[in-house]
Symmetry: C2
Subunit: 200 residues, 2 copies
Amino acid sequence: MADYTALPLLRLTEQFARLPGIGIKTAQRLAYYVLSLSKEEAEAFASAVTDAHESLHYCAVCQNFTDKDVCPICDSNTRDRTTICVVESPKDVTAFERVHEYNGLYHVLHGLVSPMDGIGPDSLKIRELLSRLNDGAVREVIMATNPTIEGEATAMYLSKLIKPLGVKVTRLAFGLPVGGNLEYADEVTLFKALENRNEI
Amino acid sequence: MADYTALPLLRLTEQFARLPGIGIKTAQRLAYYVLSLSKEEAEAFASAVTDAHESLHYCAVCQNFTDKDVCPICDSNTRDRTTICVVESPKDVTAFERVHEYNGLYHVLHGLVSPMDGIGPDSLKIRELLSRLNDGAVREVIMATNPTIEGEATAMYLSKLIKPLGVKVTRLAFGLPVGGNLEYADEVTLFKALENRNEI
């Protein structure tokens, strides 16, 4: 925006433009939208930002975001405490919970091992995961990292640490996405689908 | 997001999801991004929202957003005060300023006449526009509303009000967009391009 634009508007636009996936034009549109809100609505927006930031921290057990000491999933009596699903980020927990089929616990790594980006195992919540396996209650750890190079490397690295503890380590299945089209599947996916075929 | 999600996170996600063009998944991604910011950055974001909302209001002359009484364009000594470019929204002023070719003044209507949506002329900043034409200094009003039904209707409505005051009223040219492809131009655009053809 040109230099005649009022400074508070420029500043708000810049703040929106820093968000992931928001370009300068969208940021400008969002800034104007905020101006169209009532005073109460704008204040609710601003305080949602500061409140979330102030009140949320990592769950002492699974490292997911929570405003309590221990998150509702880790604290629940009805979840299966013998299984831990290891994911990269809190978003992945949401994705699994949406399926309504998994009833075990989670562990959020907050990243993947990626030597190229300087992210070593120490940057992740791996020590916290291993400490959860000490009392023998956990019998299976599901590696639910993404099917990428970093996701695979992290799954392999963790499985080498966990297997010696006598805990079963499993990996999410790879294959054709349901509703997908065979024609558009990439070679690696198709190979995995073939390799992991099941008798019907 | 499921009901186990921490309330402050849900609230922040809802706030983002209310923004135009932001779906629930993007809103969730933005909310998590805010959590990844430092305390100072999150506070800067929140205060940009409240600051913009508190300090910005309409320019007393052109009705564009400003944090002064009169905006820098209306207040400038170097702008051509005989021409007013009438636009729907403050975004359009930014679009014209980006061209660096227009040196006149602006007038922001903050909407278009749209009987279907219950927006009559009284909801727009039309009285404010007419009052700027009283002293005879303005010689041309450029109708720069969008080439839509509402934009056209508003331009026609205003021109009928302004012409009797002895002020020239012009309309933006319609035709092929520069760099566009004739093949993909819609019929109405192509008709306008043909109708408004110029001798070379």
